[in-house]
Structures are given as structure tokens and as C-alpha cells.
Amino acid sequence: MTTETRSVHSVRLEPGAATLLRNEIAKCRHLRIGLVTALLAVGIVGLTLVGTLAGASTDGDLTAALPLAGLSLAVPVASPVILAILASRAVDIEHQGGGWLLGRTTGVAPGRLCRAKLGVLAAAVAVGTGGASVVVALLTRALGATGPVPVSLWLGYTVAAIVVSLVVLAVQVLISARIDNQLIPLGVGIVGTVVAIAASAFPSWAAHLTPWGYWSLIAAADYAGESVVTLQPSYVSVVALALLATAGVVVATRRLDRQEV
């Protein structure tokens, strides 16, 4: 008779990164995050078209820079409140349903949960903002814009706009997680819209002070009197913002990890 020995393995209780992301994707589907992201894309495209048609000359002449100017204005107008809504919807369910405590008891600290939420929302925002830019570019071609479409500038603007949007999204997720009363993050989103709109009138140093101001620093085209001219986005500023924001998210979520729920 042989004696069977059964080895005892340590059991990992907390869910892995893939499971955590799958959970968050499921929550986002339930919260109709896809619909809100579509709203972001439709808002950007709609505002760009309104701005473009309003700015087109009466003889129907449409330069390729005009939709780019419209896009540079539409993104900061449409994004702040919708990013605040996305973040608030994703985080508020944890406040309402005792999700922070549930996560903690299953080995998922609040900061880790926030990073997972940010990851899923970031993918949605990147698709929404990038998709809107692509649609505007295609419409520009379809409408028969005169002059060459500045592809590299358009691409550079789109990437920079996505980066700024993700930084603003990160700020909104952290505020929504830190403050139970969702009035504050939504209020920040509304005031962010004001800052984003007004930042084009700010001096450069002032536009650098808040994440919402960076949309004005990356504007790829704008009006110079009656005509529209292309501009050079401040890519260096956006890279610096991205690095600062990444460090900020790491520090803030680690603090959340140590926070009692």
C-alpha cells in the first residue's frame, strides 16, 4: 500500500490583473460607458462640423485647416464634462455599493481598483477621441477640402489630444474616488470646461497651470483674423504633463492603497 502525499500549495486569494480588468469591463458595460464614450465622439464631431460650417467662406471654399481648427476647439469644449461623467459613473458605484470594502476584503486595495478603472476608461476615451478625429479627417476628404490635408500635424494633434484627455480623466477618477460627494468631481468638470475654453486667451505660462489648459497649447489650427492658419502643437509640454501625471497617479493610488475604507 502506497501512501499518497498531497502537497499543500499556497492559495492566491486576490484576483490577478486580468481578472480585475475583466471585472471592470463588465461593470463598465453595465454602466453603459460605451454609450457615454460614443457621446464624447459624437459631441466632438458635431461641434467640429458646426464650427467648420460656420467658418466656411460663403462661396463654399473649404480649406483643410478649417476642420482642424474646429477640432482643436471641439475637443476642449466637449471633453471635460464627459470625462467627469465617465469617471464619476465608474467610481460612484463603489461609493454606493460598498465596493471599496468588498474589494479590500478580496485583496484589491482602492488604489489598485482605481488603476484598473483608469485603464479601462483610458482605452474607451482613446478610442472615442481618436475615432472622432479620424471621422473628421474622413469627412474633410469627403467634403472636398482644398489644399493638402496636413497628415502629420493631424496625427500629432490627435495623439496629443488623447494624452491630455487621459490626464484629465486620471484627475477626475482620483477626485471621484477620494470624495464621496460626486458634486465636487462634476463641478470640477464644469469649471474645467470653462478653463479649457478660456485657456486660449491665457498667456502660455497660465495655460500650463491646469491639465485643462493643455488643450489650448496643442491647438493645431486657429483663426488669424479672417483666415485659418495651422499651428505647431506644444508636444514638449504634453510629454512633460504625461510624465508628471503618471508619477502623480502612481503616488496618489499608492496613498489610496494605504487608506482605510
Binding site: 457621446l39 459631441g43 458635431g46 464634462v81 464619476s88 454606493q96 463641478g187 478660456a198
Partner: protein, 249 residues
Amino acid sequence: MLSAEVLKLKRSQVWAVVVVLPLVMSALGVVNTAASGTGLAEGWDTLWLRTAVFFGLFPLALGVAVLASLVWRPEHRGGNWTALMSGPVSSARIVVAKTAVVAGLGIAMLAVQLAAVWVLGAAFFGLDGALPPRYLVVAAVTAAAVIPLAALQSLLSMVMRSFAAPIGVALVGAGLAVVLMTAKVHAAIAVLPYALATRAGQLASGAFGDSGALTAGSVAAVLVATVVLGGVVTAIAVRVLDRRDVVTA
């Protein structure tokens, strides 16, 4: 009922919406004036366009939406919804009390906005004379037009547990209203509370398809739409609440 609703708003930071939002939007009007380089070419008219009319475009709808979410938030927490459903208070009284509080706060927000415009014009920009009386009439009509908007946002915040979702609906509604008003589809005020509030704020402005004159006809159209829409939306909200039940989780 009303005092109970007001009591629930203690420490909800509702003042941040009622006071800060209109002040921030008025400050934006100052920034826009400074950026334009032309100053206030048409005096009070230009200032009104850059502050009050702009406020009616989307900040007003968003502000009222946030207020409605704040007013309904306590009912969606813990077991309060069950308490609401099992209490002896009729649905009509609940809906009317909530709508009255949201509308009252919305009107207070407009009053702060009006005061900010007045102070900016008289003290900051040194404009001649007082705010033209027609703008006081427009402010009063806009205050009335806020009531159906408050009723609709109250209904949305009642059926949606999420704080942010009704605000998203308001954003879409305000955007749609701006497009409709720009396209001079003024008849939309009869069916869309967002369009009604936006149109009221644009009266006598000469912008967004407005003639620039304050006529009895345009004021009457807004007021009639206010009464009809307010009644219809409130009746719908009462019926919806009548059919709601307790919820778990």
C-alpha cells in the same frame, strides 16, 4: 415637505453650484472681453451676450442637473428609497417638493448670475446707466422657464441612481437645444425643456435667431410653454413614481 427637503441639503455643498458656477461663468465673460480686444462695443448688450446668454447655453442646464442630482442623492443612499416608498407621503407631494427645491435653487443661481452681471457692468466695466429694464424682464422669464427644466432633471435624477447620468442627459439636451435655436427652430420650446430655458435666456439678445427685440409674443410663447411643459413633466414624474417599488442593493 419643503423644509424636510431643504434640511437634507445641509452640508451637501449645494452653494458651490448656486454661487460659484454663475460667478465662474461671469468671470469667463470678463476673460472673453479682455481677449476680444474690442471691449464692450455695445455696452450692456455685449456684456449680457457674453455672460447671461452664454450662461443659458449649457451652464444653466448643467447647473440645474447637478442640483437635481444633489436633491435626489439622499434617496438613493442606504435604505432611504425603501423608506420613501413605504412612507405615508403621496407621490405628487414628493415630486412637487423635490421639483420646487430644484427650481428654487436654479432660480437662486440665476439671481446670483444677474447680480454678477450688474456688478461687472456698473463697477468693473463702468458702463453708463443701469442694466436695461428689458434684461430684468428676460431674467424673470428665464427664472420661470427653469421650472420645467427642474421638473425634468428631477424626474431623471429620481429614476437614475447615478449622480452623473442625468447630467450627461442634460449635456446632450443643452447641445441639442443650442443646435435647434441656431437653426431657428423656436417651436422646440414647446417640447424640450432645455430648448425652453435656452430660448428664454436668448430673448432680446439678437443672437441665435432672436430678433433682438423683446416682444410680447415671444415672452408669451415662453410663458405658455413653461406652464404646459411644467405641468406635463410633473404629471409624468408623479405617474412614474407611483409605479416605482422598493429596490434592493
